[in-house]
Amino acid sequence: MLPLSLLKTAQGHPMLVELKNGETYNGHLVNCDTWMNIHLREVICTSKDGDRFWRMPECYIRGNTIKYLRVPDEVIDKVQEETKSRTDRKPPGVGRGRGRGRDDGPGGRAKGIGRGLEEGGPKGQGGGRGRGGPGGKPGGIRGISFFTFIIFYLSNSP
């Protein structure tokens, strides 16, 4: 299973993203691409030390700034279902080998948005893990990516 397939399947689900600079972003995945650039909605950003928080309606994170993503456990089962139904649809002997790109099936997938009230916030994904201490790069603003900087600007302006 490819990491990016899992990420694609996680569309509509809540997730936690930690960036290389130590900031974490909790939000629902709207979309992602093959560079791991991601688009989140209803986001809470937590500073590296876990002591400051920002809420923003949406944000866009450049893939190469990501350290890891934490996704809900059940998403991995969904990938297996999807790949299974995909191979079931294909005639035997076709689609072997590791083709690039992916087919999203006829009409694309129904997006898991608007599933009700229980999705109100980042469920049980915790905030920052508060591992401060050594290893942090000095010089606050330099460690913040250009993207994040723009987001801060937007979210702080009236």
């Binding site: 990491p3 899992l6 996704v71 809900p72 893990r129 290893g135």
Partner: protein, 98 residues
């Protein structure tokens, strides 16, 4: 190009990952790609310290980006079950400095 040292042989096995920021994450390898991005299922972090034994934090399902990975080790279950983590004391690993 020859296959080289892919991670195929480790899929569905328990692995121990050392990340560039010095964390040690243990979990089941579910997938990977060319860039060494990996999917870790049922993962937990082993936190080393000199004051107390190794603490384990449950993390769950993770996608770790390849450029944040230093080492992927195959966890030998026998060796690991003989380890008494509560008695192990060590400094956390240093972060990678490129």
């Amino acid at each position: 190009m020859s296959a080289g040292p892919g991670l195929e042989s480790l899929v569905d096995q328990t692995i121990s990952v050392i990340t560039n920021d010095g964390r040690n994450i243990v979990g089941v390898l579910k997938g990977f790609d060319q860039a060494t991005n990996i999917i870790l299922d049922e993962s937990h972090e082993r936190v080393y310290s000199t004051k107390e034994g190794v603490q384990q934090l449950v993390l769950g399902l993770y996608i770790i980006r390849g450029d944040n990975i230093s080492v992927v080790g195959e966890l030998d279950e026998d060796l690991d079950s003989n380890l008494d983590l509560s008695k192990l004391r060590a400094h956390p690993l240093k972060p990678v400095i490129h």
